[in-house]
Symmetry: C2
Subunit: 455 residues, 2 copies
């Protein structure tokens, strides 16, 4: 009888420790908080509309550092600090101009310089234009056909992918490496179809690279609408010339900062769970989805713990990385300092796929950890987090990989992301308040589970 | 040995019939079609921007009937026909006006008449206003407190629901029955907080009812922004009067139509699978999400079968119901005629939750059928259809229920729906092309599976 009672007590105690009912109640309260008392929408409005675009090295990026540090201090996090990091300082200059001549008619088109590109001469570059879909197709043309021309890379993102990030991955080599390929063949400039599935007139910028020993030629993105227009005219063989002008330049590196807020862990203060996004953005829109959303959501995760009085066992950090877009210097610096300081990271969650309706998480970790997180499915599915799988995490947390934490990427619905990504359309009015809030709650719920059960 | 061989053959044959590999290939081709060659986006642009809002009985509703019949004829469906149905003809009249007086200051607010409401007198109604959250709270006030006043129903949709339709269900009684409750207490008018989770200045209309023997008092929706403003002023006890004016009226019923396109079944021509939405809309926006999206998606489902050369075993019908918004006359007529004609419906799928990113299906049917559809999960999950469950289907197909078909509701992501629902914000620019196309493909895939395996 006593033994049975002891057994019953043991079972009861075990279930108290495992607390499945209280987990679901706690997650419910995290979502209630997000949907009724979250500050992330108003914080994103400030970041997007009052501060504006936050290209690395810009005055607005600097303001965003000061603002987000102050914000986390006001929220009473245990520790708020900056990490110094030198970042590239590329500036766009005057608005770019472009046209082509077809059947003696001038067609103005919408372009923007790619991030990192050199300028054209002040009078622009005028040259015949040839369209290709890939590096291979370009090289087959031979140097003689390409020399002295502008190369127009026009392989669209493949709309058949259900997840638009896969379509992006399949096309972005043209943007990142097109100028290298073309310069090696003697081209004088590069025009790349914008990385977007939407046919519209907004060009989408993004990082491009040069290669040592290869001539640096100017590179620009053309809007999808204008790419289709140019391509149709090229098929008619009526296009004689393409002209474009841009005055971008790379200035000396600038001192900037990662901004970090922390709540100390009660049991394992030396084991860190990171949730982060990147504070820098491109300059055409106001970086609302990419990645203002991720920044305010990350801050909100820690604020949620404070507001609900949840004392985490591990140390929680919101990390707002600087310079994801054109250098990744903040992510690299964060990992470098973590190693230098002997920090142990249990997990790092990145939110850099837009402030859209939550779908799930991608996990870069050993299968045991993927399975463990999938084991929490019944707690997460009521909130639309149906898709938990091994997969991509995020660029900023990538450099932490050798140090062994589970790397996790928050996955919102991807359908609308490339309508706004790196373009003038990435503004606060493209944000839905509830979708943004649900994203913050999704990460807070996952952080809560990782903190409670470890990995 | 012979027996074993026979068994092996039987298993092989069974697996050929079940065709799991070809199912996944067929579904893949349905999605490829949707994302590369679908017409639903351009059709919706026409329906929304060229035809415009399609309130039952209006000239635009009539144009939409003609247009969609012609469209399905052009697509070469086996049979395209109309079903006559008499529908209510309510008209809004001049734009409504409203203000309240607080501390001797006039505050203009945004309102719109609720569908079916009577007009105010030409000079409007001016009266003291009292705020309540529910019928119960109103009745507790007592007739003396309510008589001669305008009742302001201001219970917000509860933002804590993850699915916004649940928040809608929990608040919409104020809109549909508020005028009855208030009139019974002697009120002279009703102002209802708009059914929206977004705080903005666009009022959201929708159907309201009167009750025989109860005075018909004018009823309007006030924007959520203005509802909060009025409520705050009422708390300060500075509001002296509310005035509003509307000139809506109900004209005699009008002859209108359900529009139906059909592909005849090769094996079971007398067993019908319906996919449908409603062609009518409210008049403030252009009915893009509600429910132009559902109409063009339903047509696209049949067009997909035609384009891919899939010959359905059962008869497929795209049904564009008339008058879902303020009468359900089309849905009722469809079921009535189905019964009269001895038609057998295997399944009916409704799409009336907006053209957003697909999430799954709700199923109103016996558990055996729910389980059977859930058994197709592995074929549907790669396309984001993770949520397949017993649940709500749709209003238009509801009247078919006694005839026994499985009733299924397509469920897209619900976060943005009540930003646009019944408001001036429900326009074509709120549509994302890919989300719309994925919805059409989701239903085509489900129709394909039901047609292949029965229910």
């Amino acid at each position: 009888m006593k033994k049975t009672l002891a057994l019953i007590l043991a079972i009861t105690t075990a279930s108290v420790i495992a607390q499945p009912a209280s987990d679901s109640a706690m997650i419910r309260s995290i979502y209630d908080h997000a949907l009724t008392r979250s500050k992330c929408y108003e914080n994103l409005e400030y970041l997007s509309n009052t501060i504006g675009p936050r290209l690395s090295g810009s005055a607005q990026a600097e303001r965003a550092v000061i603002y987000s540090k102050k914000l986390m201090e006001e929220y009473g996090f245990d520790r708020v600090f900056l990490q110094e990091v030198m970042v590239p300082h590329w500036v766009r200059g005057a608005k770019e101009e472009a046209y082509f001549i077809s059947a003696n008619k001038k067609e103005t088109v919408q372009i923007c310089a790619l991030g990192g590109s050199v300028a054209t001469p002040a009078k622009g570059i005028k040259a015949p234009v040839i369209e290709v879909k890939s590096q291979e197709e370009l090289e087959k043309l031979g140097k003689e056909a390409v020399a002295g021309k502008i190369v127009f890379f026009n392989r669209p993102m493949d709309p058949r992918f259900i997840e638009t990030f896969n379509a992006y991955s399949g096309a972005v080599d043209q943007r990142s490496r097109g100028a290298i390929w073309a310069a090696k063949m003697g081209a004088v400039g590069v025009i790349v179809r914008s990385m977007s599935l939407k046919i519209h007139r907004a060009p989408h910028t993004g990082a491009m690279r040069y290669e040592d020993g290869v001539t640096k030629i100017p590179a620009a993105a053309i809007s999808t609408y204008d790419a289709d227009l140019l391509s149709a005219q090229l098929k008619k063989r009526t296009v004689t010339e393409f002209w474009f002008k841009q005055s971008c330049q790379t200035l000396p590196d600038v001192l900037s900062y990662n901004v970090i807020g922390e709540i100390k862990g009660s049991e394992f203060p030396d084991e860190i769970i990171v949730v982060g996004g990147h504070l820098d953005s491109w300059d055409l829109g106001t970086g609302a989805h990419d990645d203002g959303a991720g920044c305010v959501q990350s801050v909100e995760v820690l604020r949620t713990f404070k507001e609900l009085g949840i004392k985490p066992r591990h140390t929680l950090r919101a990390v707002l990385f600087m310079n994801e877009e054109n250098g990744l210097k903040g992510g690299l610096k964060y990992a470098e300092l973590a190693k230098e300081n002997g920090e142990k990271h249990l997990a790092a969650i990145e939110t850099d796929a837009g402030g859209f309706s939550p779908r799930g998480f991608g996990i870069e970790a050993e299968q045991r950890i993927v399975s463990k997180i999938q084991g929490w499915r019944s707690l997460l599915e009521p909130y639309g987090l149906n898709d938990i799988r091994a997969g991509w995490s995020g660029a900023d947390i990538g450099p932490l990989k050798p140090q062994g934490p589970a790397l996790i990427g928050f996955m919102p619905d991807s359908q609308r992301y490339f309508d706004v990504h790196h373009a003038a359309t990435d503004t606060f009015d493209a944000i839905n308040k509830r979708e943004l809030e649900l994203g913050a709650a999704s990460m807070a719920a996952l952080v809560y589970l990782i903190d409670t059960y470890g990995l």
